[in-house]
Symmetry: C2
Subunit: 613 residues, 2 copies
């Protein structure tokens, strides 16, 4: 890869280059049939092209999209000109479908390289959220839709002519999807034989819909969770009653041609702390604002079978969770690049000599100060660690789809257990990285003259959306580590042990021993948490468990990167060693405080009387 | 005290009541001469009056001051009407001078009660920053100014007719004050006999000046650091060359009557992440925009002796650092009150029964979920712990000024060592508290419909201004713990041991032992950090030391509060026990990771090559 034309791109590209090639060996993927048209050159060309567009179109539009929030006018959402230009540049690059099949406009790009390109875009400007959601939406249809649904809806989405959303939450049902009340009733005679899928009329209200409405695209494909009432009018109160529907903003024919407006109406836009460039909407389905085909109710097409909605949506959700890890790491990298550049340039203070400070000497760049280096190393460990973790997950997605049966099985198992970490760890620690970037810049970092405060605001969403931190924790400790009698945890252990052994062989014995001890502590803690078999005892401290688990995984990733760096003359290799050393010295020792409460099933947070809070 | 009329005031007042009366026994102060006019009733009346004004004038103006940023027009700064109303209400309450002598408009209020009133205001809206700075400014003049300077400048400031600033930073000199270039030259013949103080002409640029310019007051009294050149035109390059000057925006006569404009000119306003209601300005002194008394240069009056500027300014700075602890804790309380109220109201999800979730049951308030209680307990421990720490420091200020010689000496010593913690600990952990408040509210917390995102943005400044986290850390480990051969640390140890003994007596043995062990670990770490006597080794990890020290101090404060709660039937007593239990279970165990690197003088952050970052 070339070196990139901005401070951010110059920092990003070598990091991605080391991780993809020296660590994940993505070039080896080209020996598989699906990727045989590719080579290291095609990968690098694509990332360089992405970097060029990101530097030219996304970086300049980022602050502007924060300042000029989208607004409502006549039921439409108006976005600034620069957002349109960034959107169009991304569409013209044709990169959204890159990892998909040729029939969907794809180019069989490995997911590892695909997500590396997204890191470049996401670090350069967050207009990409609709793109991520559109890909996740289309990917769900590719997986679960009919041939017609794929052709009519997924193809235009992957060409980024249309965008996609996920419509899950309702005001009374955020994380608790069983409680949704949006309903779907069959749309008259012959509804079951509509070529676009069984046709229903959808009625209800949905909220927190990123890209729910804007002027950036000619159609928006909503994937909507709703319940089909029984014949007696009642609904299944559990998640088993949830079905999934394609609800286009504008109805289309079998050739994807636009017809009349569907009954999907914008209610309001949220005014947010960050991500201000991405409109987040509340929508009403079927309130009668429009009367498609002469009657009320938004027209929706069933995907898969009734009652299968949540399972299918989780296909999209799991993809989205990895993308959150990508987005969080990207913002971490953006803040780190800014802080590092500032610290090399800004002069302030003098090193402490044995005789005290000599104020006749010139001031030094603040990167000379140990505490500034500490804050930069922490950012490096969080942001580059998160980036590595996300790329590792992407590499597993490639093995899952194109590896041997054994490789695919291993990848699936590792993805199951790692997804909560890939989502949560970068979300939590790259927020800290962005805060440290502000701190390195000091007062300047607190002003809107610099982007670091914006990164920090945008980052704050990542611990909330696509399943909060607490939800990830319950998924990990309540489900994932217990699946198949702990087989997933065991599979992860095989990988961790492999890294420990490799580290020992090249002389990184102290870190190998530290990771070995940490892994054992994690296993013992897991056993102790579940030793009474009572979820009410085990799960009280699910979040501290998630945090401890995350730091152990990050230590493993950093050590594995350092092993690769030891064999490499890449310009990034010394940095990999430095970040690993920092992580083992300053971060891994934190796990005791988190895992301790889990191991002893500390019940305070369950038993405390709310009245005493 | 009464219970307060808003969610915030209802939460705040009982907490302050417990801390002031059941813990700090402020009523006992009324036996001292200075406070003899006071009683528990006068204290409570004052806090109730503060709460009333805060609820009526400050809370409603808070969001508005965030949205309608002050702007420049014709060299002046325009603020919204609501800011004027809040400002005037505060002025009319006459509370700024409360702790001062009668001759300065004061009412001899103990500082502990005075700062409790500021907590109420600061939690309710941050327009108070100018008030805090004005008090600190006037207090410096009361300490170091001439009788005329006190009467002419400090009295109108304490009446809040005028406000005050501190002008330290220049673009090339932020934390490094030795490098300031603002100069002060004698203002002609007879300059030394001006009744307002030796008169100089000031020339230079200053930045980061909160309240540097606005339309809320008829005059602004700037305290400006500048250097007086030697006769050969050179200046002392060290901090010993710094002198302090009173530079009023509008010149005044000996009766505080306004005369002509001084040559102080607004250059620009900062556009900030938070604290948007408080204009933060860059000012130019002596650029010739105005020509007071016919010639160029801003007129300034020397305070104290030449070269004594930094020492005097530190009087203001130390007061300001305690006020930062107050401000940080206040925002922590505001976020906690919001999150607690939301959690009691918002219904989502169901408790996990042995048989799984029963979706036919109604959803429960989210405060029923253990992880939500964990997030609330953490906020409680951070925000109420910070509040207690700030009030403890205020109580020491009372002992320092009105206690017996032994009490005053003890208080001075404890204030020296605790000030870096009072400033830094709430700044760091109430930021985390505000982040957790967002997390409890979920997506709602990410919108500007709720105040928690604003608290979080405003809070972020506190780790930066009035000496960054890193500066506090160097002050603590580099100076305070070493002063008088560790006497300050020893004095704090006496207090900690006293709490440990008291806790043991009432059966809190496990926590007493944990604190005892933590205190020993802190002492040993301090010794190990300095065991080579080399600052370049000891201070590499000053910030982790500050963090570990802060958590030990917070554990001590929480245990001491719990001891008081054990003897109390106050409604807040159960909460004190719960917060203490949380802190010892979840927080105190963190110190090992921070102190470990300090104890072994981990050199990574000093030695790492900046090129590998």
């Amino acid at each position: 890869m070339t070196t990139g034309k901005t401070v951010l791109q110059r920092k990003l590209l070598p990091v991605l280059d080391f991780m993809l090639h020296d660590w994940l060996k993505v070039e080896e993927l080209t020996s598989r049939n699906r990727f045989e048209e590719h080579s290291r050159e095609t990968f690098d060309e694509l990332l360089n092209a992405a970097s060029e567009v990101a530097a030219n179109k996304f970086e300049p539009a980022y602050r502007l999209s924060d300042e000029q929030e989208p607004y409502m006018a006549d039921g439409e959402v108006v976005t600034p000109k620069e957002s349109h230009l960034a959107f169009e540049a991304y569409r013209d690059l044709g990169i959204l479908a890159a990892s998909h099949d040729v029939e969907f406009g794809g180019m069989h790009l490995p997911r590892a390289v695909d997500l590396a390109s997204r890191i470049i875009f996401a670090a350069s400007g967050h207009n990409l959220v609709p793109a991520m959601l559109t890909d996740a939406n289309a990917s769900l249809l590719v997986e679960h839709g009919t041939e017609t649904q794929k052709r009519v809806f997924a193809v235009p989405e992957l060409a980024f002519r249309w965008t996609g959303t996920m419509c899950l939450s309702e005001s009374q049902a955020g994380s608790s999807l069983a409680d949704i009340t949006t309903s779907a009733v069959p749309d008259g005679a012959g509804h079951e034989s509509d070529p676009l899928g069984p046709r229903y009329r959808i009625t209800g209200n949905k909220m927190w819909i990123s890209g729910g409405e804007y002027d950036l695209t000619e159609n928006i494909i909503h994937l909507v969770l709703a319940k089909i009432p029984h014949e007696d009018g009642t609904v299944d109160p559990s998640t088993k009653g949830i079905s999934l529907f394609i609800v286009p903003k504008v109805l289309v024919d079998e050739e994807s041609r636009l017809l009349e407006r569907n009954d999907v109406t914008l209610v309001s836009l949220n005014h947010k702390l960050g991500h201000r460039g991405t409109p987040n909407a509340a929508l009403t389905f079927g309130d009668g604002t429009h009367t498609p085909r002469g009657s009320r109710g938004a027209i929706g097409y069933l995907v898969g079978s009734p009652g299968d909605g949540l399972r299918q949506m989780f296909h999209m959700m799991n993809a989205a969770r990895i993308e959150i890890g990508v987005a969080a790491s990207s913002l971490g990298m953006a803040g780190f690049a800014t802080a590092l550049d500032y610290a090399k340039d800004r002069r302030q203070g003098r090193p402490r000599a044995a005789t005290g400070k000599d104020s006749s000497q010139p001031q030094v760049p603040i990167i000379e100060h140990a505490d500034v280096k500490r804050m930069l190393l922490a950012q490096k460990a969080y942001a580059e660690g998160g980036t590595a973790l996300a790329l590792y997950a992407a590499r597993l997605l490639d093995d899952q789809s194109t590896g041997s049966p054994a490789e695919a099985e291993r990848a699936s198992v590792l993805l199951e257990i790692l997804t909560p970490i890939v989502k949560s760890w970068p979300s939590e620690w790259c927020l800290e990285a962005n805060s440290l970037a502000i701190q390195v810049l000091g007062g300047a970092g607190y002003t809107r003259d610099w982007p670091v405060e914006m990164y920090w605001r945008d980052q704050r969403l990542n611990m909330i959306h696509e399943g909060t931190h607490g939800i990830q924790a319950l998924d990990l400790l309540g489900r994932k580590v217990r699946m198949d009698a702990g087989a997933h945890l065991g599979a992860l252990g095989v990988e961790v042990r492999g890294t420990i052994d490799a580290a020992k062989r090249i002389g990184l014995r102290a870190e190998a021993d530290a990771l070995s001890g940490a892994w054992d502590e994690l296993l013992v803690t897991t056993v102790q948490a579940w030793s009474t078999g009572d979820p009410a005892e085990a799960l009280v401290n699910a979040t501290p468990y998630l945090q401890g688990f995350g730091h152990v995984v990050a230590a493993w990733i950093h050590l594995d990167l350092a092993v690769a760096a030891t064999h490499s003359d890449h310009s990034e290799a010394p940095g990999r060693i430095a970040a690993m050393k920092y992580f083992f010295a300053y971060e891994l020792p934190r796990i005791g405080a988190w895992l301790g409460v889990v191991a002893r099933r500390e019940a305070l947070c369950r038993d405390v009387n709310p009245d005493s809070l």
